[in-house]
């Protein structure tokens, strides 16, 4: 699916006609909209989250032809970067609007939803239970780092840019957070 995404994005970049662009954009956004929605909804409270998502989708669609990256990771970093700007704009408009992290119940509901298309093995359940314990046992700052890196899939450099920290600083923080979570769950 990620290869398909890059093919669509590359084709979009060189497509001149409007009907074909619209078709490609629809296909691209059917794939990426849920990921962007999750990113936004994890950060902004409804109903503002809907407006922020609209702004993000519009900004990504408008700039899609200029995206010059060559991998899904770069695409997501780029799209999340746009989303982050829009979320930060929202924070500036409404202070204290940061959301509480997802509860364990919400996490379990999403995992359950994912099992409709890919059933969970006993080993999967064991791993996922452990991962949820790691997240819920972590202190807020650590949980945020672990969430960004492992759940949203942001790499160290992207988190470093967002947090205005060095790459090594982020790498060490995440390592320490992981160790701390392991010791809390053990």
């Amino acid at each position: 699916m990620t290869d398909d995404l890059m093919k669509l994005v590359r084709t979009y970049r060189v497509t001149a006609g409007l009907p074909e662009r619209l078709r490609l954009a629809e296909e691209i956004f059917r794939t990426v909209e849920p990921g962007l929605r999750m990113f936004v909804f994890n950060a902004v409270r409804p109903p503002a989250s809907d407006d922020v998502l609209q702004e993000v989708l519009k900004a990504v669609a408008t700039s899609l032809g200029k995206f010059a990256g060559d991998s899904p990771a770069k695409f997501w970093a780029w799209a999340y970067g746009i989303a982050r700007h829009k979320i930060n704009d929202q924070y500036r408009r409404q202070a204290n609007e940061r959301l509480q992290p997802m509860s364990e119940k919400e996490l379990r509901r999403l995992v359950e939803a994912s099992s409709q298309s890919a059933p969970l093995s006993a080993a999967d359940k064991h791993d996922l239970d452990y991962a949820m314990k790691l997240l819920t046992a972590s202190k807020p700052e650590c949980r945020e780092y672990l969430w960004q890196h492992y759940v949203l899939g942001l790499d160290y450099s992207e988190i470093a840019e967002e947090q205005k920290l060095s790459y090594d600083n982020v790498r060490m923080k995440i390592g320490r957070c992981l160790d701390q979570a392991k010791s809390l769950v053990a």
Binding site: R30, L57, S63, L64, L110, S114, Y130, V151
Partner: protein, 74 residues
């Protein structure tokens, strides 16, 4: 026999994949009207300034990871 403790990084990555998949299942893509509108606007703008539109992809080379909008606050 007690179960072996999973590898924490692999477990968290697996959780991330599951959460993203679950979220996509619960919230299938919506808002495509916004996307269509943005594509149409962008297209109309390019028709007005064809030279700028042609040079845009070249100018953007190597900047794929950067968000496109100027952010004066940053």
């Amino acid at each position: 026999m007690p179960k072996k403790t999973p590898d924490p990084e692999a477990a968290l990555q697996k959780l991330g994949e599951r959460l993203r998949a679950g979220f996509a299942k619960e919230h299938p893509a919506q808002n495509l009207d916004t996307v269509r509108e943005a594509v149409r606007e962008q297209y109309a703008q390019e028709q007005k300034t064809p030279r700028a539109a042609k040079s845009a992809p070249d100018a953007a080379k190597g900047k794929g990871r950067q968000p496109p909008e100027p952010e004066p606050e940053r």
